[in-house]
């Protein structure tokens, strides 16, 4: 395994997700410890841990929590973002399926720290087993008197699982709460921050499932111990979901600072069918692709990957073999972004449609040389001009591919065919 583990610390069996087995592993002991602490001391510990959000933006969790003023008597909400939808990402699903009680215990500790009475798990609509597992864990916690009843010191929490109904934008925090309010998930302009005015205008903390899952460990071991794992600037671990042309796809818990090439070549078994690596999408399709040569000197930490012009994002890593057609690959991505644009902001709504049309035209052999510059221009026009980050993300992905594989686009437009046979699959 790539370094030390904080989350994937037990053997997964058909019953390892149950309350009984979670308790046998020391489950809910940290809750008891937390309830004996001052709530503010918990936020302080989380801030000191340096935990960075795992949803994609790597925003410091403690800083987000720090905005909340739990003592002013106002209602506060907590939402666990389980709307895992960034293509290439399937790590929250691992937690929901295999460690649902870790999420519940962490949400209880977080809610106690932030003065939350009602919390939500927003889970994407297509997830079936993950939904049954987290709902099952919550039902078990109710039956055991952990939820819905006063705990030591009078703290009481209810958790509702809210199921989405098919929409990428619901993973954006403000889109998510608009969805819980029973509407289409139009994101909201900030300020005000959601921690000031969120769900039904009340201060709301929205944390990714993996971010929350780390809270129990941080309170159990203390910030100082937690910081001994990972690097100074990226404390802890990251769940990496790896897919594409790799021999052993799946979810791996990687200690920050672990050499990237070693992770791919040894832990993940190298390339599928012994192919050569062309490039890697590091953290969900909205992060820029890096070539094998660019990856070579890097390690898996924010301070190593960010200066290379990309990011670890959501940990959704997609490995792409030599011989893969990058034009058709971009077509798949732009079709997706066009499909998922919520339509609220003109640059994204129109821009995604135009980009999708242009790439379809190129693939149909009807592209014109100016199309490449048009794709750049639309990408730049989206940058910073939309309410949420989706427009920017589509632009990053597009520019990342165009910068590094421009010759394939020029070839396709000139020759009216793919330089790589239009292939997305890895040859055997």
């Amino acid at each position: 395994m790539p370094g030390r583990q904080l989350i994937m610390t037990f053997e997964v069996t058909p019953t390892s997700h149950t309350l009984a087995e979670y308790k046998a592993r020391g489950g809910y002991e940290t809750l008891a410890k937390a309830l004996a602490m001052d709530p503010a001391a918990i936020t302080k510990e989380v801030t000191a841990s340096g935990l960075l959000g795992h949803g994609g933006a790597a925003f410091p969790v403690g800083r987000k929590w720090g905005v909340m003023k739990p003592n002013l008597g106002e209602i506060h909400y907590l939402c666990a973002n389980a709307d895992e939808g960034e293509p290439g990402t399937f790590k929250d699903r691992w937690i929901l399926e295999n460690a649902p009680h870790l999420l519940v215990e962490s949400m209880m500790i977080t809610s106690y720290a932030l003065g939350v009475r009602h919390a939500f798990v927003y889970i994407r609509g297509e997830f079936d087993l993950p939904f049954r597992r987290i709902q099952g864990a919550i039902d078990e916690a109710y039956a055991a008197g952990l939820l819905g009843k006063p705990q030591a010191g009078g703290f009481t929490l209810d958790i509702v699982v809210y199921r989405g109904a098919g929409s990428y934008v619901c993973g954006e925090a403000s889109g998510l709460i608009t969805s819980i309010e029973g509407r289409k998930p139009y994101p909201r302009n900030r300020p005000p921050r959601l921690t000031v005015r969120g769900l039904f205008q009340k201060p709301t903390v929205i944390n990714n499932v993996e971010s929350l899952a780390n809270i129990t460990g941080i309170i159990r071991m203390g910030a100082e111990e937690f910081r001994k794992v990972g690097t100074a600037k990226s404390p802890g671990t990251q769940l990496v979901s790896i897919s594409g042309h790799i021999a052993k796809p799946g979810v791996y818990e990687v200690e920050y600072g672990y050499p990237w090439a070693k992770f791919l070549d040894e832990d993940c078994g190298g390339m599928l069918n012994g192919a050569k690596m062309k490039c890697v999408v590091p953290g969900g399709i909205s992060t820029k692709v890096l070539t094998r040569a660019e990856i070579e000197p890097l390690n898996l930490s924010h301070e190593s990957v960010n200066p290379a012009g990309s990011g670890l994002g959501s940990g959704g890593m997609i490995v792409i073999a030599e011989g893969t057609c990058m034009v058709r690959l971009l077509q798949v991505l732009l079709r997706f972004y066009h499909h998922e644009s919520c339509g609220q902001c003109t640059p994204c709504r129109e821009g995604m449609g135009w980009m999708h049309k242009i790439i379809d035209r190129i693939v149909a052999g009807e592209g014109v040389p100016e199309d490449i510059e048009r794709l750049y221009a639309i990408s730049h026009a989206n940058d910073g001009t939309t309410i949420c980050g989706m427009g920017d993300a589509a632009g990053f992905a597009t520019v990342g591919i165009l910068n590094k594989f421009r010759d394939e686009f020029e070839f396709f437009i000139r020759e009216k065919r793919s330089k790589c046979d239009g292939r997305l699959e890895c040859l055997a």
Partner: protein, 157 residues
């Protein structure tokens, strides 16, 4: 939908006070599960029950891809065609499935048993390609596995 109101009431009890508007999605999901789609009378009944404007229910219905105003086949096969699945052969798998059932993507077989829909990322990239059959994920799909699956579903009727 009226026969579902006792269930909706139980659902409502789990939410904080004043969250009626939040119930639009879960109620629509439940109605669809019950009827197979959401009918005009369901919309009217839900607006009356929750006290929300019709526009809100219509907005939700037209936006979210999983909600339907019309029925689908008994077995709804939703095949992912996003990046990780396509890199593992989804395009061939979908083409095979459509040929086998004699439908275009989005179509339903004449006997009303199978509907094939192409969808975007289902969050199952490590076990790609993936096809959802009603609620369940079928992972690491191949043409052979799909044939076996279709045979099994046909035998079930």
């Amino acid at each position: 939908m009226r026969h579902l109101i006792p269930e909706f009431e139980a659902m409502k009890a789990r939410y904080p006070e004043g969250f009626e508007s939040s119930l639009v999605l879960p109620c629509l999901r439940r109605i669809q599960e019950d009827r197979g789609f959401v009918a005009d009378e369901d919309i009217a009944g839900l607006c009356e029950y929750l006290g929300v404007p019709r526009g809100q229910v219509e907005e939700v219905l037209s936006y979210y891809t999983m909600l339907r105003r019309e029925g689908v086949g008994k077995y709804h096969l939703q095949a992912c065609r996003n990046i990780a699945c396509s890199m593992r052969g989804a395009e061939g798998v979908i083409a095979h499935l459509c040929r086998r059932l004699g439908v275009e993507p989005g179509g339903t077989t004449a006997d009303g048993r199978f509907t094939v829909t192409e969808v975007e990322c289902l969050g199952s990239c490590g076990t790609a390609p993936v096809v959802m059959v009603n609620e369940a994920y079928h992972e690491n799909m191949t043409a052979e596995k799909l044939d076996a699956l279709v045979d099994e579903l046909k035998a079930k009727g």
